[in-house]
């Protein structure tokens, strides 16, 4: 049975070029980059080259790139790092209701330690309004954190416009670009950000590595202590091989950005058309415009996302719904709830996300299988309402 992956927003397979670039750093150039001798130098070279590649990817200076263990750590570091460094100025943070949990949960923890957090609502398309942001600003606001593109529904925020509001007041502006990377162009100056989070495994790089862009002059308190790595902002021996892989992945992603976006766009349109023509009772949760080219979030009336996901999985098709909890079950997406959907609607959604390796044949197969799965789930749901 054919295995089809339509869950690229969860993670991506490693590219061949990345694997090739990584391998020498396990046994040949195995050194610790902090060592002063030949072994250290080889490893350090790999790390610094990758740093330059990420800097080119973001159009920033290499000195402004910090390597972390991934998007979650980058987000945690950005939020706690700014708050802990600017306590005397204030402790108010503004974010949105549809952020990833690696933004919302650290903020919950920081709120318990005394920070105040304002969560901006979003429109039914998932967009933040500049007026709402302006109204939320206070004298004690030190940080605004808004993701460039949403992981669940794909909505793209007007970051440049929002940035103007924030930075004229000298408030720090952090943007989670984890999902946007590789799909939208990233230029820290066009976007107008002070901090930006990236994750390698969303752009065909390895898991376990990410980066945080920190504009020169931004005060940031470290989370991890115990070494002077990353300009004393992130202690710990660097994950050299993964960092090298990240650099290569970013370079390729930048080169192929337009082609990749076009590839995804056409496949997503094909998928959407196929679904709408063959499955009744669907609602588009993703905005029709200004959304990631590869992301399609669709609600299926009278069917549980859980049942649909399981039925598709048994047919070899991987999609996503909601988010996984610690026990391995699915929780309804807080993003859909923030759009104004009710719990039932939030529980009836599937997220399809295509990627580099997705083919038209795969889309055809999904369009063929999905209607039967939906019908079976719907019939089962009806029967149990005695």
């Amino acid at each position: 049975m054919q295995s089809i992956n339509l869950d690229y927003n969860a993670t991506t397979p490693l590219r061949a070029e990345v694997l090739e670039a990584i391998l020498p750093y396990f046994q040949l150039h195995f050194g610790n980059p902090s060592s002063v001798h030949w072994a250290g130098r080889q490893a350090k070279h790999g790390v610094e080259e990758a740093r330059e590649q990420i800097a080119a990817f973001l159009h920033c200076r290499p000195a402004e790139v910090l390597f972390t263990s991934g998007g979650t750590e980058s987000n945690n570091l950005a939020l706690a790092g700014v708050l802990n460094a600017t306590r005397r100025k204030g402790n108010h943070v503004i974010t949105t209701a549809i952020e990833h949990s690696s933004i919302l949960e650290p903020l919950e923890a920081l709120a318990k330690e005394g920070a105040t957090v304002t969560t901006l609502p979003v429109s039914h398309e998932g967009r933040v309004s500049a007026d709402d942001l302006m109204a939320a600003l206070r004298p004690e606001t030190v940080l605004v954190s808004i993701s460039l593109a949403n992981h669940e529904i794909g909505t793209i925020q007007p970051i440049a416009a929002l940035s103007r509001i924030v930075r004229e007041r000298e408030i720090c502006f952090h943007v989670d670009a984890v999902q946007a990377a590789g799909k939208l162009p990233l230029d820290v100056n066009s976007l107008g950000v002070d901090l930006l989070s990236l994750s390698a495994h969303k752009i065909s790089g390895p898991k376990g590595v990410g980066a945080l862009y920190v504009r020169k002059g931004t005060a940031l308190a470290p989370l991890l202590h115990g070494g002077s790595q990353e300009r004393e902002k992130r202690a710990g021996t660097e994950n050299v091989a993964a960092v090298v892989g990240f650099g290569v992945a970013a370079t390729l992603a930048a080169q192929e950005l337009e082609a990749h976006a076009a590839h995804c766009c056409s496949l997503t349109s094909m998928l959407y058309e196929g679904i709408v023509q063959n499955v009744p009772g669907t609602v588009l949760n993703s905005p029709p415009q200004q959304r990631l080219p590869n992301t399609l979030n669709i609600g299926f009336s009278d069917a549980t996302g859980e049942g649909l996901m399981m039925g598709l999985d048994l047919a070899g098709i991987a999609v996503s719904t909601g988010s996984a909890c610690a026990a391995g079950s699915l929780e309804p997406s807080h993003v859909l709830l923030a759009l104004g959907r009710n719990t039932e609607e939030a529980k009836s959604a599937l997220r399809f996300s295509v990627g580099k390796e997705t083919t038209e044949q795969e889309i055809d197969r999904v369009v063929e299988v999905l209607p039967q799965v939906v019908e079976r789930v719907r019939k089962a749901t009806m029967k149990s309402e005695k």
């Binding site: 049975m1 549980t304 859980e306 049942g307 399981m310 039925g311 999985d313 048994l314 047919a315 909890c325 610690a326 026990a327 391995g328 079950s329 699915l330 929780e331 719990t343 039967q372 079976r376 789930v377 019939k379 089962a380 749901t381 029967k383 149990s384």
Partner: protein, 376 residues
């Protein structure tokens, strides 16, 4: 470590009459049940049900994160798909909230019965239909048999009398019984553990969960107190403990802390005879106690009675269990209108507890059962 059963990873075709949804709790019984099905050539899809919110690893409770890890490993060893279903909302509404309100009414609920009746089997059933599975299977110690002459399904006690869980399954309908498998019902617990060891399943030696799955530390009174709304808090206020004549003997901290037949925790010292709770009046916040003789009753009334076997026209002789761990006692069941019944014990019996279930047996067959309203 792979088991000796044939992996069925290629058999995932829909419309298969041999596709079964097997519920895994992370314990040895459901693990062996799934393994037996795989051995018998069924196409098994394993699921666990996330019921309570506190999925932290805890001892004694069931279905913690550690339990799901165990279940996942079992599924891997058997090479079958595994999913965790999120039933927290439904469980809270249909089991936990009902559990709380029953105690506030001075009744003693059995949450496992509520779960089986209103949640577990219905939801397992729905998922089974969604996934085109023909049956569901659990690790319960009970048996289903089909009687050709009557064209009826029977629910029977397990072979292992000490483990028999048929008490919890009396609400299953004919339609449900037709599609429910209990693969370990014909084995003893020892045989089940032996089978688990033979298959190399890591859960072979796992101890059984004892307490209510959503109250892992067993302190159900505190669990209830922590969940009360402001309005409900009044209902668990302190009140009086009185004797059969209404004389106040002492005070208590909330009717939810008591069950009929309870002897300990009354805080009444220096009385001639040991005292037992005979009735609980939640409206007046009053707990009545008496000597053991006053606990004895002639029978009980039950409501929401359901029948696995054909409902008798008027009455039937049967043995009845009024609690899970009680023996079945000879009784006469008189059918009444509106899904009710009177159960008359052959000999007086103590501690009929409103809120529990009365399950009717004929030898090893479950006839049906109902919910205890009050003692006669």
């Amino acid at each position: 470590m792979k088991t000796t059963v044939t992996p069925n990873s290629e058999l995932r075709t829909p419309n298969s009459p041999r596709r079964v949804l097997a519920a895994l709790s992370g314990g040895v019984d459901s693990a062996v049940a799934a393994a037996l099905l795989v051995e018998a050539g069924y196409e098994v899809i394993a699921i666990s049900m996330l019921l309570a919110g506190n999925a932290e690893g805890h001892d004694g409770g069931c279905c913690s994160i550690d339990d799901f890890q165990d279940a996942r490993r079992v599924a891997e060893q058997l090479d079958i798909p595994y999913y965790v279903l999120n039933l927290k909302d439904a469980f809270r509404n249909k089991v936990i909230d009902v559990f709380t309100t029953e105690y506030l009414r001075g009744r003693t609920p059995n949450p496992c019965l509520l779960c089986n009746r209103d949640l577990k089997f219905d939801l397992l059933w729905q998922r089974a239909r969604e996934l085109d599975a023909h049956s569901v299977a659990t690790g319960h110690y009970a048996r289903v048999s089909y009687d050709e002459t009557d064209d009826r399904y029977r629910l029977l006690r397990a072979v292992d009398q000490r483990k028999d869980q048929s008490y919890f399954l009396f609400t299953l309908s004919q339609a449900q019984l037709a599609r429910t498998l209990f693969p370990v019902g014909h084995l003893t617990k020892d045989e089940v553990r032996e089978k688990a060891r033979a298959l190399g399943l890591r859960v072979a030696e796992k101890p059984e969960s004892q307490d209510i799955c959503f109250v892992p530390d067993g302190n159900y009174a505190r669990f209830i107190e922590q969940r009360l709304t402001a309005a409900q808090r009044v209902q668990v206020a302190a009140g009086e403990i009185v004797d059969q004549d209404g004389q106040v003997l002492g005070s208590h901290d909330g009717v939810h802390r008591f069950t009929v037949g309870q002897r300990r925790g009354l805080g009444l010292g220096g009385l001639a005879e040991p005292q037992y709770v005979t009735t609980i009046d939640a409206e007046r916040g009053r707990v009545t106690v008496g000597a053991k003789s006053q606990l004895m009753t002639r029978g009980l009334t039950a409501n929401t009675v359901s029948w696995v076997e054909e409902m008798p026209a008027q009455e039937v002789n049967a043995t009845v269990k009024i609690r899970y761990r009680h023996p079945a006692i000879p009784s006469r069941i008189v059918v009444q209108a509106g899904g009710r019944a009177e159960v008359w014990f052959q000999e007086s019996y103590p501690a009929v507890t409103p809120g529990q279930a009365a399950v009717f047996y004929d030898g090893e067959r479950v006839l049906g059962g109902g919910w205890i309203e009050k003692a006669l």
